[in-house]
Chain length 348, copies 3
């Protein structure tokens, strides 16, 4: 996208000094910026760069008074640092929400209900009876199964797959390749050593403001629902088993796996590559270090754990410090064993 320095000043309620028609297409640090970029000067320590920067425009505080000639167009604002943040969000909003209308070909099943201002990318599939809210953006190659409901303002990037009967809230974001509602991993052993699939007839419910990373998979419930509560943030390549429930605002880093029927409380922080076993419960605000393996329930809110299997975070740090010295420890024991042979017994 491209804006003029004048348009940016308008957006931020700022005042232009210099040429107002310079074209801006990206943000950059003041010391690295080149033609077409906008930068900002907030910390006076960086003032030197404003005289040499290649940026087309620089946001500065109203109080800024140049001591030398400045080639960049200056945009004066109340608070340059806060304005860059506003600009970032605006840029993002435009980037994400600028898409609108239905590209062809796409596939709409019978009785699909579609809100206003939606974007339906080419090659999108929406199954029968699906309900799509207002301002929903569904990028190309996404699959929305039969009877799925999606709330307002949700963004579904290219190639997301949502199985039939799942329910998705408002203001959610799904990144490419995420799979919602695949069968839970449930098989009953038969006498001949083979396995029979247990029918998985439940769904996945995802509440509002949830973010799901690229290629993350969330299995449907065997019966009932796998539930992702409001505000949960999942990174990429995460596995969520059948009938799992993730509490409000819980955050999970990449490549973590949570096994079937486990329940996490609200505001938990789970590191990357963590494994959490099935059928357990973690209290609110539990925090688990990266690569840990959690094998049992956590009852006390705010517990911090690490290790595989995981136990108290601080104790683990101490055990690991000794682990690194185990060969020396072994030697010290051997020395003790030798020395002891040279010592006198108590006389009776």
């Amino acid at each position: 996208m491209e804006f003029t320095s004048h348009q940016i000043a308008q957006l931020l309620g700022g005042r232009v000094e210099g040429e107002g028609n310079r074209k801006i297409s990206r943000l950059a640090k003041i010391e690295e910026a080149t033609e077409g970029a906008i930068s900002f000067l907030s910390n006076p320590k960086y003032e030197q760069y404003i005289y040499s920067t290649g940026a087309s425009a620089v946001l500065v505080n109203n109080t800024f008074k140049p001591k030398e000639e400045v080639k960049a167009t200056l945009i004066y604002v109340e608070d340059a640092y806060a304005s860059i943040s506003t600009l970032l969000e605006e840029y993002n909003r435009i980037k994400v929400h600028s898409k609108q209308g239905l590209e062809t070909p796409h596939f709409l099943g019978e009785n699909v209900v579609m809100g206003t201002q939606c974007y339906i990318g080419a090659f999108t599939y929406i199954g029968r009876n699906a309900k799509i809210g207002d301002n929903v953006k569904i990028y190309p190659h996404s699959y929305i199964g039969d009877n799925v409901i999606i709330g307002n303002n949700t963004i579904v990037y290219a190639g997301v797959k949502v199985y039939s009967d799942c329910v998705i809230g408002s203001n959610c974001t799904f990144h490419s390749g995420a799979v919602i509602g695949s069968d839970g991993f449930g098989f009953a052993p038969l006498p001949d050593g083979s396995f029979k699939a247990i029918p998985q007839i439940g769904n996945v419910i995802i509440e509002d403001n949830v973010s799901i990373g690229a290629n993350t998979t969330i299995d449907c419930a065997t019966m009932g629902s796998t539930i992702i509560r409001k505000g949960v943030k999942l990174d990429n390549l995460i596995q969520i088993g059948h009938n799992v429930e993730l509490g409000k605002n819980t955050v999970v880093a990449a490549q973590t796996g949570i096994s079937g029927s486990t329940k996490l409380g609200a505001n938990c922080m789970i590191g990357g590559q963590v494994g959490i076993t099935g059928h357990i419960t973690l209290a609110d605000k539990t925090s688990i270090g990266a690569q840990s393996g959690v094998g049992g329930s956590v009852k006390k809110p705010g517990t911090a754990m690490s290790g595989s299997p995981a136990f108290d975070y601080k104790t683990n740090l101490k055990s690991f410090a000794v682990y690194k010295k185990l060969p020396q420890l072994m030697k010290r024991i051997e020395e003790l064993e030798e020395k002891i042979l040279t010592l006198a017994p108590l006389s009776e």
Copy 2:
């Protein structure tokens, strides 16, 4: 899907008491059920709930005699518990197999051979010379490469990618995002520090009754075939390297990786997030605990291992118990070292 209580009674060979036209669209526990749900009462301990349940219908044993008024329609069957299981399977069968016919647009290459009663979802791609068996269901956005063969009754969910020349059996299930036949990770180092790709010209053979989870990846063989034997069940986000062979009925949990040319026997149970190194063999019925790292072959059938690197499961449990107390152990050694200084030497 929606059924009437009458239709369900017919399916189960049961007898309706109450209104036969009530609409049923899901299963629920008797104490949680609401309008539109069917429940069951098998254990007399739960009898109280049948008088207050919101369920539209309840399956009961022929021997059941209500003591109070029941609002739900009752369906009398020989064994209510067994009937619910029958119902689940029937529901699943209908859900999965109800799709039929070719949605448009789809792409069929030259000489594609297609069985009867197939479902080809919109935006499905089937390459030239592919052979698709009877009653195969291929959901939207799936890619079936040139020359691929798929056996009868196999289900391919949305967005599965099968590279050319792969061979797939009957009664298999592939979940969304699974990738079958991508290149093995083989690169030859060159003198300048760069790498040259080793051509990967093999394929993947998947036998009957195999289940492959969402976003799981199976690489083709460098030459020959990567082989997944009858009845293997793979969970989500698993990586199977080139030339791997998985024995009959082996089960692998989510996010596990198996490196190139490794062979697993029949009926192995591999936990989640396990790593298995390349070019080794695991005997039949090997079981590996979650998050383990297997670095060598296992010769004895039925071996249980855990840890990273993995060794005997029970010994590992004992070692880990001591690991948790390492700081105290260190202290005890220090105390011994101090005490020993205060002891008398043997007189010569």
Copy 3:
């Protein structure tokens, strides 16, 4: 694909003895080969098999003189072993590069610039202003976002998703399900315990000769670029966080995760299922063992580490050797503690 023995001889500059029209469609070992396969005989130890092989054709050295009747067509070449390698590469080249032209339906946005000899599979989406180089092969269901640039000879297999504004070099390979440019995992905590997404406005830059595995995910930079340098090879199901930089010719095995803003040097070798924390730097030629967790920067080039948390590879091996014997160690300490009670104190 199918060739005649005559065509293969021509390709290799060899001479046919026997029938020149036999159809060859695959390679196989001489002892396992059946009708339709070509094999080779280089090591005299295997000569016995040439008299019984089911292969349709066998490559032999010019010096080879059969002692018995041979049913297979013989193709005489200077060096049978080298020829099989040439054949493999040729086969691969044909397999990969034979696709050409635009299949329908596909979607091209405004102002797309397309090179010569490209393949655009059915259901491919190419966003506006994208620039596609010469001889680029884009398989079905791939999504190339707005403004994306792809260099010459790059291969994009089915179902790859490249977000808008990413830049991809020449001679790269992307396997199915790879996601390039998804949002980095950045959220700012709010006072009420919820999180607000930090706008991710950067892109991903992938240089020449890079290979990306199936279902691997590479997040875009928060601002600026996530950078994958020349010759990097990434296996399947890898997670690369925002603003990461991977140095030239670095190789990463499957299911490894690298967190945001971390920089790896050139020619690093990273094992499978490794986790590398954010905001650190690994020197050139760092090697990390499988399943390790790297928590701090590595300054010395050529460092080898393993473990979770990772430390010096050799020391870790020694510590682990003791770990396996911890229960015995504990016993030895207990014995020392008992014995010491039976010893005489130094007389004062």
